[in-house]
């Protein structure tokens, strides 16, 4: 193994080689698809041609750029809804973990909330919050609440006997045990809950849009579908995928940074950072 | 080159033999084992002892047929080893029981793989569980058994096929000392009773000497057989023999060999 850094050209070639088979497969699929529809093998009413989808994409994203407003509205609905749901869920979870009676009496209602399909509340939420973004955010918040609550609570309540013993032997107070042991230990599960919650928040936002809305990618997709403009509908679906990917990778990023001790690459980086801080402090 | 305390290939039935056996990994960059030569007589108990990386587990896997040597050859019962075979049975460090099967069903696993177990097979399995002292747990699931008990089930499974060559890869390494000592005694009793030939890998010097007729001391980087020490202590061996002078001389011998390289 040479110690020389791999030249940039080599690296690009490397990445290229890895992606090439995928690109080829993709091209083949699109090609076969286009031909099937063009020759009438598949009816173009239900399944649009890739070229039609492409023109729709160009129109929505580039020429007229109508999609961006809706994109950001749905993204905002999902994120704000998630934030509210997460805020409430984490607070309740922390409270439940610290006060047993509270936990006991809140749990039945949390369980009821869990078993009920949150989607069922959509019409009610819209009746309560109106046709604007409020109802989307509300549904997103309600649906994302439970997974975050459950995961955070489980994370906070889980007990590592050895560690508890250590803290006891050091004479740590309850607050210290919470701050220095329970809370950090709960982070991995909390983030697992966040990931699920974020996904469900997006679903909530989109479904609420289906039911009643003027703006948002959900509405746009719905409208295009019922105009039988399948190509535009799929082009809009693409933006939903993008939202999903943005949300997922943002959470992954946060997870990686905050719960850094789980991945070797992050551990190494964090070690170096700590060493630097120490050295800097030692100089003073 | 291998140093022999005493030639192993004395008169008698040699059931496992290796000639210049070597194994490298990663296109030759990692030499796990080199130049291993051995002849193991029927009914003997051989321990392989050494630090991590000395190639003892590799050697065991080569004999079992799970991996192929890069150089040299291994023969069992006079035929070369080409892969796992019916006359060899192996036990691993983790009990590796299937948790959806009862103890009895776990013991029957090797028989099942070789065909449908007959009534005789089932009775044999029950007898083996009795032999390892677990007849009351024949219908228990692994999750209901302690680590030591699980290893005992694995031991019964090892014996189920009636193979006369038994390979054991640090089977008691994860257990506490008391359970380990107890199982060591049991193992010796059982191996003697079924008259099998055993090759036992461990990193515990006491265990290696206590169990064996011959101790193969292996050193690492690269993995080689450094010395073969005969253990002429009486059988059956009581635990108390571990405090005797002869025993401790042997321990010293092993340590010296390990330290010297």
């Amino acid at each position: 193994m040479s110690d020389q850094p791999i030249p940039l050209s080599g690296r690009i070639l490397d990445i290229g080689v890895r992606f090439l088979p995928h690109l080829v497969l993709f091209a083949v699929i699109i090609g076969a698809w286009e031909i099937s529809v063009a020759t009438g093998l598949i009816t173009s009413i239900i399944i649009p041609r890739p070229s039609a989808i492409w023109s729709a994409i160009v129109e929505l994203y580039i020429t007229e750029g109508t999609i961006y407003r809706h994109f950001f509205i749905t993204l905002t609905e999902a994120v704000v809804g998630f934030a509210i749901g997460a805020g409430v869920a984490v607070s309740l979870a922390i409270a439940s973990s610290l006060w047993d009676p509270f936990r006991r009496y809140v749990t039945p209602y949390a369980v009821v909330l869990n078993v009920t399909p949150g989607i069922a509340l959509t019409p009610v939420i819209i009746a309560w919050f109106g046709y604007g973004m409020g109802s989307k955010i509300a549904l997103a918040a309600i649906i994302s609440f439970f997974p975050i609550f459950v995961n955070t609570l489980t994370g906070l309540v889980q007990v590592d006997e050895d560690r508890e013993e250590l803290f006891n032997s050091l004479g740590a107070s309850n607050v210290q045990v919470f701050r220095k042991l329970r809370a950090p230990a709960a982070l991995p599960l909390m983030f697992a809950g966040f990931k699920i919650g974020l996904t469900t928040a997006l679903i909530g936002a989109v479904v609420a849009e289906f039911a009643q809305a003027t703006d948002g990618v959900g509405v746009l997709m719905s409208r295009f579908s019922f105009q039988l403009n399948m190509a535009a509908s799929l082009a809009t679906l693409l933006s939903m995928t993008v939202i999903g990917l943005i949300l997922f990778y943002s959470m992954e990023f946060l997870d990686d940074r905050i719960v850094f001790w789980r991945r070797e690459s992050r551990r190494a980086a964090a070690s170096r950072a700590r060493a630097r801080t120490w050295a800097a402090q030692a100089k003073k | 080159m291998v140093k022999h305390e005493q030639s192993m290939a004395a008169a008698g039935d040699v059931v496992v033999s290796g000639l210049n056996v070597g194994k490298t990994f990663a296109a030759g960059t990692v030499v796990a084992l080199e130049n291993a030569n051995f002849d193991i007589k029927r009914g003997s108990f051989v321990s392989l002892v050494g630090p991590s990386g000395c190639g003892k587990s590799t050697l065991l896997r080569l004999v079992s047929g799970l991996i192929e040597p890069t150089s040299g050859e291994i023969e069992v019962h006079g035929t070369p080893v080409n892969g796992p075979r019916a006359d060899i049975s192996m036990m691993f460090q983790k009990a590796t029981l299937l948790d959806w099967r009862t103890s009895l069903e776990n013991v029957l696993l090797p028989t099942e793989i070789n065909g449908t177990p007959s009534k005789a097979d089932k009775n044999r399995a029950l007898d083996l569980l009795k032999l390892v002292g677990l007849e009351d747990f024949a219908f228990s699931f692994p999750a209901q058994l302690s680590g030591g008990m699980q290893q005992r089930v694995a031991l019964a499974r090892l014996l189920q096929t009636g193979a006369d060559i038994l390979l054991l890869d640090e089977p008691f390494g994860a257990l506490d000392e008391f359970t380990r000592e107890h199982l060591n005694t049991e193992l010796m009793r059982i191996v003697a009773e079924v008259r099998a030939t055993a090759i036992f890998v461990t990193h515990n010097i006491t265990e290696a000497i206590f169990l064996a007729d011959q101790v193969v001391v292996m050193t690492s980087r690269p993995g080689r057989m450094a010395k073969i020490i005969n253990v002429d202590l009486e059988r059956p061996r009581p635990l108390s023999i571990q405090t005797s002078v002869e025993f401790n001389k042997l321990v010293e011998d092993v340590r010296e060999t390990l330290g010297a390289v």
């Binding site: 239900i46 399944i47 006991r104 009496y105 749990t107 039945p108 949390a110 369980v111 009821v112 869990n114 078993v115 009920t116 399909p117 949150g118 989607i119 069922a120 959509t122 019409p123 009610v124 819209i126 009746a127 309560w128 997974p147 459950v150 489980t154 599960l189 997006l202 989109v206 479904v207 289906f210 039911a211 719905s222 579908s225 039988l228 399948m230 509908s233 799929l234 679906l237 995928t241 999903g244 949300l247 997922f248 | 799970l66 892969g83 796992p84 049975s89 691993f92 590796t96 299937l98 959806w100 009862t102 009895l104 696993l109 793989i113 070789n114 089932k122 024949a138 219908f139 228990s140 699931f141």
Partner: protein, 286 residues
């Protein structure tokens, strides 16, 4: 990579334990108190009936929809039958493809980017598209349900098939087991718990999928019923339907739990003991 939801079981466990501990009286007490306060507040005009339908009205609605008008049964049947059918078909497809992809490294590699994209997209969002493409009616509803409950079983089966314990594989190889034997005796039983977890998620998703389809189509089913009642501002009846779904959701939860205890028995102490006794009985008989 597997989608797990084991933590909510822990919560229900806590709940059940506290119920058993004679605290059930306290729970019931608190619940009744809250309900009475609510009722009182509503009668006094403090609580807007839009947001806080009167409990007595909700109870009356239950009576109406279940017994007097008995209109809920038809809709319940419509929703539940579609959910079950869609769940069975969708999850079977998911398991089948998951196993297929799991066994084939090449296919897996090529499918990976598409799976990532599929995972990020909210599957339920495709509902309007499917309805427009397949028309209003059972077909599109079924398609939506199948789509939403395909994914979790697919991912879980894939994961279960890939993540076989190395040591167990070595054990089987040392016993000269054939590929089929490894599949039948190791991979399959090992994957069962994960597959069951995926099935649970799929069933929950199927119910949500059905509801969304009904919201859009508005023809029949519990979802349509909720929509109609809400439109007419009959919040009491809407809530009665929502609580019906709570009951259904709870039954699904309990039902899947029982099924899991039966199929993946070795993960549960009760299941192990039950199986032990059963195996003992069948062995002892000549």
């Amino acid at each position: 990579m597997a989608v797990q939801d084991a933590t909510s079981e822990a919560l229900v466990d806590t709940l059940e334990r506290s119920l058993r501990n004679r605290r059930i009286a306290k729970h019931v007490g608190i619940f009744l108190t809250l309900t009475l306060l609510w009722e009182l507040g509503s009668r006094m005009g403090w609580l807007d009936p839009l947001f806080y339908p009167r409990p007595s009205n909700i109870i009356r609605s239950f009576w109406l929809i279940y017994f007097q008008n008995a209109n809920v049964w038809f809709h319940l049947y419509s929703t539940i039958s579609l959910v079950i059918l869609g769940w069975v078909l969708g999850s079977m497809l998911g398991i089948g493809l998951g196993a297929l992809v799991g066994f084939n490294t090449v296919i897996r590699r090529f499918l990976k980017p598409y799976v990532i994209v599929l995972e990020a997209t909210p599957r339920i969002a495709v509902a309007p598209l499917l309805i427009a493409a397949l028309g209003f009616g059972v077909n599109s509803k079924l398609a939506i349900i199948m789509l939403v409950c395909f994914f979790a079983p697919f991912i879980n089966t894939l994961s279960g098939v890939i993540n076989v314990n190395e040591e167990r594989l070595e054990l089987f190889r040392s016993m000269r087991a054939s590929k089929t034997q490894i599949l039948r005796k190791l991979v399959l039983p090992d994957a069962i718990p994960v597959i069951m977890a995926g099935e649970r998620l799929a069933l929950t998703a199927a119910l949500s999928g059905a509801l969304v389809a009904e919201f859009i189509q508005r023809d029949k089913g519990i979802g349509s019923l909720i929509l109609v009642y809400t439109r007419n501002l009959n919040m009491a009846s809407a809530f009665a339907c929502i609580f019906t779904l709570t009951i259904i959701g709870f039954l699904i939860f309990k039902g899947m739990e029982k099924l899991d205890h039966y199929i993946a028995y070795w993960k549960y102490e009760g299941g192990r003991e039950r199986m032990s006794a059963k195996r003992k009985r069948t062995m002892v008989e000549p």
